[in-house]
Amino acid sequence: MTRFFLLFIAWQTGLLALELWQPVYENLITPWTSILASIAASIMDFFDSGILTDQTQIIDRATGFAIQVESGCNGVEAFVILAAAVLAYPTSWRHQLSGIALGFLAIQGLNIIRIISLFYLAQWRADWFEWAHLYVWQTLIMLDALLFFLLWIQLIPKNQPLPAK
């Protein structure tokens, strides 16, 4: 357990430093934020035509209303924390890979719901938007990461041989 904690903190520090490193930020994080905005806009456009994107902006063509998906809204931090926990957990690399891939889907799936809900909430009740944006959704995304991790360690087979490290 102590080994898990130490590895978790080490992985987390390394991955977060990597995330903030300028080349990674410019070539991976920023493009991912644009992709996320496009995915959310495509889903919205499916049932509410007239939604477009401009890089990280999602725009309602009819009203001109727009929101910007920024760093901190792209789910990367939550994913980094989850990935660090999965990588620190003593199991085979296959299970770690599956945990990272499924965890990514779990976090980004919920994050897309967050972006869509905030886009409409901001137009409907601007005073609720701040609450939902800054406090509720931020917490729910972290909770998603924690619950996914607990579920994952529950479901992977026990007594896996430790990977040679």
Partner: protein, 196 residues
């Protein structure tokens, strides 16, 4: 048998979180004027220590803190006092999250009550530190051009920018989880079947 017990524990935890989180968020919001008063007091000490010539006063109302400086800024209507308003709750959302996690975890006893109180205090101090760094970032990056007469009291640096990003994007989310995990090792062990 043990896996069945673990599953039951985990499901109970999930269910209790769903109850505790909204309760914690509401209580936290209702208490925010008092919590912000604490932040205000701590900021008065920390900012006066680092920027004694810059700080004029710290005024808090509800969950907003106004950092009133002795600096003047050039505006369209002339020169005016630089006041930096901060929404203190932006940096403190980890507090209700931590409280909800602690209260939802099985076997909540007196030891965990002490950890809950200490954790809340730690998160309040972290929140204060985040606001402190936000003020430094605002002076160095956001208001540097507009400050009239003299140079900004804080120099722009990559270190400050990185520290700000860490304290805004990462620490408020990571700190509650780390505190909770440290206090509930045995719960995680029982869920995952880890040994010491």
């Amino acid at each position: 048998m043990s896996i069945r017990v673990n599953k039951k524990k985990l499901l109970t935890f999930f269910a209790e979180i769903l109850v505790m989180l909204p309760v914690s968020l509401i209580v936290w919001y209702q208490l925010s004027p008092w919590l912000t008063a604490f932040n205000s007091l701590a900021l008065n000490i920390s900012l006066n220590w680092q920027l004694p010539d810059v700080l004029a006063a710290i005024v808090h109302h509800d969950y907003w803190i106004d950092i009133e400086t002795r600096l003047n800024i050039d505006t369209a209507n002339g020169t005016g006092q630089l006041i930096i308003p901060v929404n203190a709750l932006t940096y403190g959302a980890g507090l209700p999250f931590f409280a909800a996690l602690m209260l939802a975890t099985p076997d909540f006893d007196w030891r965990k009550t002490v950890i809950l109180v200490c954790g809340i205090l730690f998160l309040l101090l972290l929140q204060t530190f985040s606001i402190h760094v936000f003020v430094l970032k605002a002076l160095a990056f956001d208001w540097q051009q507009q400050i009239a007469g003299a140079a900004s009291p804080i120099n722009q640096s990559n270190g400050l920018a990185l520290l700000y990003q860490f304290l805004v994007l990462i620490a408020p989310n990571v700190a509650p989880l780390l505190l909770w995990a440290t206090a509930n090792k045995s719960f995680i062990q029982s869920v995952g079947g880890l040994s010491n």
